[in-house]
Symmetry: C2
DNA sequence: AGAGTGACGTTCGAATTTGAACAACATGGA
DNA sequence: TCCATGTTGTTCAAATTCGAACGTCACTCT
């Protein structure tokens, strides 16, 4: 516990750029999705996560972990989306505690309409601006950051798996269906 | 309006890494700050932004822009912090509409106690994991992303200035006082 | 079998955030 | 001077988020 290791100028730039870019980006994406499709940012992510999950369903805890959101928060949102018919709940036969959130056809249809808009915006605002090297740095660097945080305290194991894209798993669900690409 | 330019695998990795890392990081930072100092994430940022602003004060709109937050949200938080004695309001003599949020000595003292913890966490979770090249990529790439978004629609001009760290301005306030480094 | 431990999803109240509407003011030109 | 336009900060109701407490259940060890 020596003195604090303060950030140098470049680290400061990196930190503000990181937080500011995220805030700005997320704000735009959310506004667009809400205006054009009535979806909040979180709701879009839920649809996307479910769409490329095996069987288009995920357990609540897994979903909460992947989205880095509280359990209670997810319960609320799934409730809203269930009212809207985008998702339905299915209790797990093998484990009475578990509940699956299942993407309905209606939810899938909405996602398919919303996804092009979403992806186009992300590309335009982020990837069209970054160089290939910078994209790789993001993927590698922040990927590692996520993995470590998810592994350590406070993190949820699910978040790590999502990020890791580890080994054979990554390619498994990708490519077979249109579904696979709607995530991002 | 051609087909959607979907994301390739590396872009997908980058996107999830970006959002996940931010969510995980912010969550930890907020929990720590709240537990040890009773500060929410936004409140810490407010203190930090004010601390290295000329005169330790900023107009509400500027602050809201820099933090990428809504005006009403800032009004609320400044209200809370004013109750806590961390900040006070000062009306602008030259413009009756404008209101300055001013950092009090008490607020400054709290920031000085909280900053080491904050910075240490950011360093440990982020910068200790990234390579120097990756740090530069973050600063440059996401800096440019922020700048463009702030300039375009929906963005606030203040956010751009924050990010730009342009030219001589960056060094101006840095180094002279302890104050300058508490931001990040 | 039975107790202990931990995971799961929900509920609840409090805190926060959001967006639109608003009143007061500044600024520019007719 | 006076009006039109755009800003600034606040208010309000509704929506969302958070954390802790709960009830239910699975799993393990004895």
């Amino acid at each position: 516990m020596g003195h604090t290791r303060w950030l140098n100028d470049e680290e400061k730039r990196a930190w503000t750029a990181f937080t500011t870019a995220h805030a700005l980006l997320y704000r735009r994406i959310e506004q667009r999705a809400k205006r054009k499709f009535g979806l909040s940012g979180l709701q879009y992510e839920i649809l996307a996560r479910l769409s490329d999950a095996p069987n288009r369903e995920l357990r609540m805890a897994e979903l909460a972990g992947a989205l880095v959101n509280s359990k209670s928060g997810l319960t609320y949102q799934i409730g809203q989306m269930e009212k809207a018919g985008l998702v339905r709940r299915r209790s797990c036969p093998s484990d009475d505690r578990a509940v699956f959130a299942v993407l309905t056809d209606e939810g899938m249809a909405l996602l398919e309409r919303a996804a092009p808009d979403h992806v186009e915006l992300v590309r335009e605002l982020l990837f069209d601006v970054l160089t290939p090297d910078q994209v790789r740095a993001l993927a590698d660097g922040l990927g590692e950051v996520s993995r470590r945080m998810a592994a350590g305290p406070g993190g949820t194991r699910a978040a790590a798996d999502r990020t890791a894209g580890s080994g054979a798993g990554a390619g498994a669900g990708a490519g077979a269906e249109v579904t696979a690409d709607l995530g991002t």
